[in-house]
Every structure is written in structure tokens, then in C-alpha cells.
Symmetry: C2
Subunit: 458 residues, 2 copies
């Protein structure tokens, strides 16, 4: 009847390998530094947190040094419960914008927890199970990551403990209940269950929490509880590796659509969904001479790429992790309570920081009201109510489509719809009620925070 909108892959066409971008880097990632010794850390320094397969994937060494890493059959077997996810051409949005651009999106909201996060939760649970881990500890902000760990841990018979940022714990009870339905144990962070949590609660018994604090608690839990390892939802190299299934599928689906994107867009908090969709296109850019623009979209309330400094910083607020070279707002960063959505981390995935530093990818920061305006326009044309995080990508996809309209160019735009918004309706309600204020994190705060960090010679 009408022109095609969905580009599906059969299970038999699903990629069977993740893409390891580190194999294509001309120079290696800056080393991760032990804050005590000032020296690069080795595998043993991470062994209390992760199983050895994850540690080797993180460093891209041993069996994980190649460009393509086979997806284990046990992981594939769970992936295919919802993967391959559809690639959808947003023809109704194109029409509403009256643009010559073709807008495609990858629908990661089609997963059982409603976001891209299980793509890495499942392999993390798998490698832990294989290594004899009995229990996973993790943190969660909006709850998408915690749900994914709850789901994946359950599938491999592991216990799960989730430290959920207090403000989300209060505002998103359904996410909490979902984690409980999958069998996990949830607590609001800061919590009484760790020394770090008790310290922040002593400062403020009604502390709204932050992702950095929740990370500190999950790590403390991990290193103080037997048979427990840590699961992380973003930032780390192995997380981005697992997420490349998104972009690998998208490459094949764009081929089915007979087009190649001029622009690839994703939202960034820690960088996992963006890395997932973008890295296979980065490969084409590095290796095949493609000129694709690859754009990371972040909130002005947590603008680590556009306003952060590329320097060594801790991964958590309590400053207990090794030092990592990242674009950072300073590890003491706590997002203004005014900021409704996720994308709240103080820094960014080291792989993306390197690519940004080298000019391979771009970044842009956007305000929350136009983000929700884009979300509503998308919902009212393409039917899916997007997660506020994903709507950052939609906002820039629309901007690019309008630029194409102004210039008369037939641009091909691809963005990642990292999740649906069914658990984030309070953000929409605040938007409609005019209660969301636009806000830019002040750059002076960044310089102040960075000045206080330990100096690293690397």
C-alpha cells in the first residue's frame, strides 16, 4: 500500500560479533592510573570488581584483542528474545517537518525492559556466572540499568543488589517494582547499607543522591561482600563493546533500506547507547574513508563533552575508583535537582573522549524544554513516547532535518531511540505543567572542581 517504514532483520541475519573499536585505534587509550601509586593499573587491580573475561575485554587483550568479538551462544540466546530490534524510517515525522531529509531510528525501546541496557547486562551476567560469581552489585539512575541487571542476573541465577539514586527511587516506583519482579534487591542511595552511603546521609538525611554516590556504594558493597562482582551500565570499554550490536544491526538494516547515513546521532550520559550505535560507523569513517558526521547529544545540565576538561578524574563521587582520562565536570559533580531526565554522569566513556578529542565525533549540549518539545512532536507523529534521554537525540535529528530543509539537501539521518518513556511520564507532566526550567551548568564550577583533582603524569 504505502512506502516501507520498517527494516527488520531475521534472527539468521543478526550479527554474531561485537565490534572492538580499540583494535582500530592508531594510538592506545590513555592508561588507567592507580591513585595511590600514580602508575597504570593492571588486571589484578580490577579483579575484585570484574571477572577476568570482562577485564580482558576492557583492555582489549588476549582473546579480546581482535576487531570482532564473537557473541557467546548463551548471550545470543537471550538477545534474540527481542533482537534484532527494528530500524524504522520516521516518514510521518519527515512529513510533519516537510524536510527532504530521510530520518531513520533504531528502536532499542523494543527490549523487554524498554531500553538498550540489557545489551551489556546480559553478557556481564554471563561472564560472571561462568567465573563463579554468585551476586552482582550495581547502581542505577533512572532505573533502566538496574532493571536490566535485575533481568540479566535472574536469567543466570545470580542475586542482584541495586543502589538506586534516591530521587529516582522516589519518582520512579514502577521501575523499582519492575526490578523486584525480576527478583532483585533494591535500596535508595545514599543508603544505610554502606559506609559511603552513611556518610552522605549524615550530611543530609534527605540527600537526593547522584549516580556518582550510588557507584561508590555499589563498589564498596562489591569489595566487602563475598562472591560479589560489580556490574556497570556505561562508561567502560567493555560496555561500549557489548552495545555495538546496535550499530552492527543498523549497518545491515541501512543497507536493506538502500541508504547510508550522512549523520549518526545519539544521546550521551556515560556514552553507552551512543557508543553502541556510533562505533560501527566510526569504523567505516576510520577505515573506509566515510565522512559521516557522528554527533553526541548531552544535556546542558551535565555537559561533560562540551564544557568538561579532558583530564584524569575519578569515576565516582567518593573518589574511590582508579583515575581515568575523560572529559569531566569533576567527580564531585551533582546534577541540579532542576534536571528531570537521566544523562547525569560527571564524565564520559574514555573511548568517546578520545574520539571527540581527535575530532572523529562531535558533541552538542541541549536544554530540557526543547528536548521535551521534540519528544512530544515525535510521539505525536511516530507514536512512540520516547525516554527523555532518547529525546535529546530526537531534538538534534529534527534540527538536522530542518537544516536539510533550509539548504534543500537530501540528508540521511540515523539516530538511536535508546528507550521508551513509559516509566518517565512524570517528566512529561512537569513539561506540560511548565515546571521544567532550562539550565546550564556553570563552566566556572568545572574549573574549580578540576583544580582540586590529583595531578597525573601519563
Amino acid at each position: 500500500m504505502s512506502k516501507q517504514v520498517k527494516y527488520l532483520l531475521e534472527e539468521s541475519e543478526m550479527p554474531t560479533a561485537w565490534y572492538n573499536v580499540q583494535a582500530d585505534f592508531a594510538t592506545p587509550l590513555p592508561p588507567v592510573i592507580h591513585p595511590g601509586t600514580g602508575k597504570p593499573i593492571g588486571p589484578d587491580d580490577m579483579a575484585s570488581l570484574f571477572p577476568m573475561d570482562i577485564i580482558m575485554q576492557e583492555a582489549a587483550v588476549g582473546p579480546y584483542a581482535g576487531r570482532f568479538i564473537d557473541i557467546p551462544e548463551e548471550v545470543y540466546d537471550i538477545y534474540r528474545l527481542w533482537r534484532p530490534t527494528p530500524l524504522i524510517r520516521a516518514r510521518r515525522l519527515e512529513k510533519a517537518l516537510d524536510t527532504p531529509a530521510h530520518i531513520y531510528f533504531k528502536h532499542e525501546g523494543a527490549s523487554p525492559v524498554g531500553s538498550h541496557k540489557p545489551n551489556t547486562a546480559v553478557p556481564q551476567a554471563y561472564y560472571n556466572k561462568r567465573a563463579g560469581t554468585k551476586r552482582l552489585a550495581t547502581e542505577t539512575g533512572a532505573g533502566q540499568w538496574g532493571s536490566s541487571v535485575a533481568f540479566a542476573a535472574g536469567y543466570f541465577g545470580l542475586e542482584a543488589k541495586v543502589y538506586m539514586v534516591n530521587i529516582s527511587y522516589q519518582q520512579k516506583p514502577y521501575r523499582r517494582m519492575m526490578m523486584e519482579a525480576y527478583g532483585a534487591n533494591i535500596v535508595a542511595s545514599p543508603s544505610q547499607d554502606t559506609a559511603a552511603g552513611r556518610r552522605f546521609l549524615a550530611e543530609d538525611p534527605n540527600h537526593t543522591g547522584s549516580l556518582g554516590i550510588a557507584i561508590s556504594e555499589a563498589i564498596e558493597d562489591t569489595v566487602t561482600t563475598p562472591h560479589t562482582k560489580y556490574a556497570i551500565g556505561s562508561v567502560f570499554n567493555h560496555v561500549l563493546l557489548h552495545q555495538t550490536i546496535i550499530g552492527e544491526e543498523a549497518l545491515r538494516q541501512m543497507e536493506k533500506a538502500g541508504e547510508y547515513p550522512d549523520v549518526v546521532i545519539g544521546c550521551v550520559g556515560g556514552g553507552s547507547n551512543f557508543g553502541g550505535v556510533a562505533l560501527p560507523f566510526v569504523r567505516d569513517k576510520l577505515k573506509e574513508g566515510k565522512t559521516t558526521r557522528i554527533i553526541a547529544v548531552e544535556p546542558t545540565a551535565a555537559p561533560s563533552l562540551t564544557k568538561g576538561i579532558y583530564t584524569y578524574d575519578f569515576g565516582d563521587t567518593a573518589q574511590t575508583t582508579p583515575l581515568v582520562k575523560m572529559y569531566t565536570l569533576g567527580s564531585a559533580f551533582i546534577p541540579a535537582p532542576i534536571h528531570a531526565g537521566g544523562l547525569r554522569y560527571h564524565a564520559m566513556a574514555p573511548i568517546l573522549c578520545k574520539l571527540y578529542d581527535e575530532g572523529v565525533i562531535e558533541a552538542v549540549a541541549v536544554q530540557q524544554n526543547p528536548v521535551f518539545a521534540a519528544a512530544v512532536q515525535f510521539a505525536r507523529t511516530e507514536a512512540i513516547i520516547p525516554a527523555p534521554e532518547s529525546a535529546h537525540a530526537i531534538h538534534i535529528a529534527i534540527d538536522e532535518a530542518l537544516k536539510a530543509k533550509a539548504s534543500g539537501e537530501k540528508k540521511v539521518i540515523l539516530f538511536n531511540l535508546s528507550g521508551h518513556g513509559h516509566f518517565d511520564m512524570t517528566g512529561y507532566q512537569m513539561y506540560f505543567a511548565g515546571q521544567l526550567e532550562d539550565y546550564e551548568y556553570p563552566v566556572e564550577e568545572v574549573h574549580k572542581a578540576i583544580a582540586g583533582l590529583p595531578k597525573v603524569m601519563a
Copy 2:
């Protein structure tokens, strides 16, 4: 790698027609009776509620008398934003049950509002738009129908007013916000906005509401507001017609899987998702001599098929509608507050009542605790958290698979997963907390209620 679990259809394979089961009935449906005259109603009696296309579809007359009704291109164009939905083989559930049965489910939770309801909301909005309607009024229980009307009305530029059963309005704020995101106007029912609502509020200012009351309000709103028509989410013939897209797709997908179901299962409240999946298989049973068992699953708290009487009753609690021959608990029925899920209507779709009366379909009633137990087993094997309504079907699918195990038969089971449970997490929480009581609606109440109804000679 592994054996296939998903059976997809390309857009080009999507059915282009709905199935009108009335064309295959040996005898017509019992007439709908005007309560004042005692005579069958005609098209004019319904013209204040529905546009003429819907009225003709209801009666299966004029251009809508044939077996197959072409889906209008404008409707198809919105359907394909999420349709065809996947047919999934529940291999992990099969394995957990250690059954030789093959269990397939149709995943209607893949729609943008998370259920099958937009399948009829979209054509209803379309036919209304074409007829010059400016505004739709409707009721909603759990909120799935209201979200669908909000979504569909918005797509055709119609206003929407939704009367939401008060207890759901209180317990499901996210559904309410979702309707608002799509641009609809929502009010708790009983409300101050209608005479019927004010009457029930006068009796009890904290009235928890019922679907029957909300229907009364929506109908009153429709007939007293200019350019307004009524949209209904279940029970009516035209609703079941539109929902047959589910079963038509499932037929083609089962063919791709190389199997034909021995058992087809759906949950029933008013009967729309069950009718949708079942009627195309009813056709094969009536016309091709298939011996498929077709099972409607209802809650023991609202057991209209298994405990109701097949007689003439009103469609709403305020007894303002025409009289329809249905299996009914009596139109004064209000579900016990103890009943957590949807599936709360006092009667059943006339098409299904006729098929049940004639022995073409079966029915079974189930308690809510085993329903949630089935839901959790499904979530922990197949990843999707089902709507509590859909879990009624899962419960019986599991029972049938266990019977197949006991008898050693390789049964092929198909059930409809009518929606996901992301908006219904409070039910899960109550289940885990042991707060859900099993409950059977007392049959004496049915006889008492039926005795008070007007007698119809038809």
C-alpha cells in the same frame, strides 16, 4: 546458532483486510433491542453515538457485509508504525516446563501504547474524522483503551475526553500522564462532568468507579456535546472486526513456523483481544473443519462466560444503552475492590457469547494469585513482564503445556500476549507482598441481578 524464536512478517506481508465473522454465521446475531419500544434498534438509533461506517460494520451490512473488509490506507499507514507484531515461540518457557508442547505467543505489547487496543482506536478515529466528528468521548479501566484513543484521536486531529475508572486513575498515574502526552483530556469517573457521574458521587464521594459507570458518563457526554461521538474499546462487533488483524497475522506467522495451533488462548474482559486472535481460527474451524480448541480465560472475580446468564442486559451500569443478548453478571455488577487487574466488565462481546453458546469456543475462570505466578514465571523465562490481564492467558497456556507433558502429546499452543505490564507494576507489588486475595464472584448475586432486568421477547 540456535533454533528460531521469532516469526516476523515484512510490511509487504501484512494482511490488508479484517475478517468479518458475521458473514460466516449460520444464523444472525440476536437483535439489539430498544428498551423503550422492545423492538430491534435500527441504524438511526445509533447515529448519535457512532459514524455510519462504524454502524454498518457493527451490523455487517452495506459495504461491510462480506467476509473480508479492506483496511483503509490511512489506517494501514498508522498500523505499520508497529505492525505486524512478532509471533514468538516461548522456547525458554517450554524448557522451564519441560513440556513437549510448542508454545507460541503473539506480542501485542509491542504497540506504542503497550497493548492491542490501538488496533481498533485507529480505525474508529479514522471513520469519525471522515464523517466530520470533531471530538471523541470514551471510558477507560486500566488505561490501555484510554491511551489508545488519546493516541489515535491525536493522529486524526480529534479532541478526546476520557472518563477513567477512579481506582485506576488513582493507582495508574503514568497511564493518565501518557494520555495527556498524546493530548487528551482525562477525568476520574464517576466525575462531576455528567449527571450520571454526579449521581454516583452523591451516593459515595469516594466511589472507586466501574467500567459500567464510566461508559454511562462517556455516552451521556457524547449525546449532550455537539460534534462528539463515542469510542468503545471492546464488546462491540466492529471492535472485534478491527482486532482480527491479530489473528490474521498469526495465521500467516504460524504458517511460517510450519505449524498450526491445537489450542488458541486469550484473556477476556469484554472480549476484544481474544476475539482478535481467535476469530480467524474460528473461521478455519467453521469452514475448514479444523478442530482447534479456542479458550477464553476470565477472572473468577468477573466470570461472565462461566457464571453469567445468556440473556438481554444493558451495556452500562446506569442502564442507558440498548439491550443486548450477552452472557452477563447483571449490569449492576461492580467488581470487588480485591480484584487487582482489568477484565472487569459485567458481560461479554455478543459475537463471543454466540460462539460460546454454540460450543465453538470454551471458557475457563482463574484466580488472581496463580495468574500472577504465571506472569512471573513468564517474565523470568521470556523476559517480557506481561500485563496482569494477559497473564490470565499465560496461566492457561502453561496449564495446557503441563497437560501435554503429562500425556506426552506434542501440542501446539498459541496465546495472545495482549499487553506488557509496565504500567501495572503495583499489581505485581501487591502479589509479592501477599496482599492479593483469591476471590470468586458469588453465583447467587448473578441470579438476583438478572431477575431485576426487563424481559425481552426476541
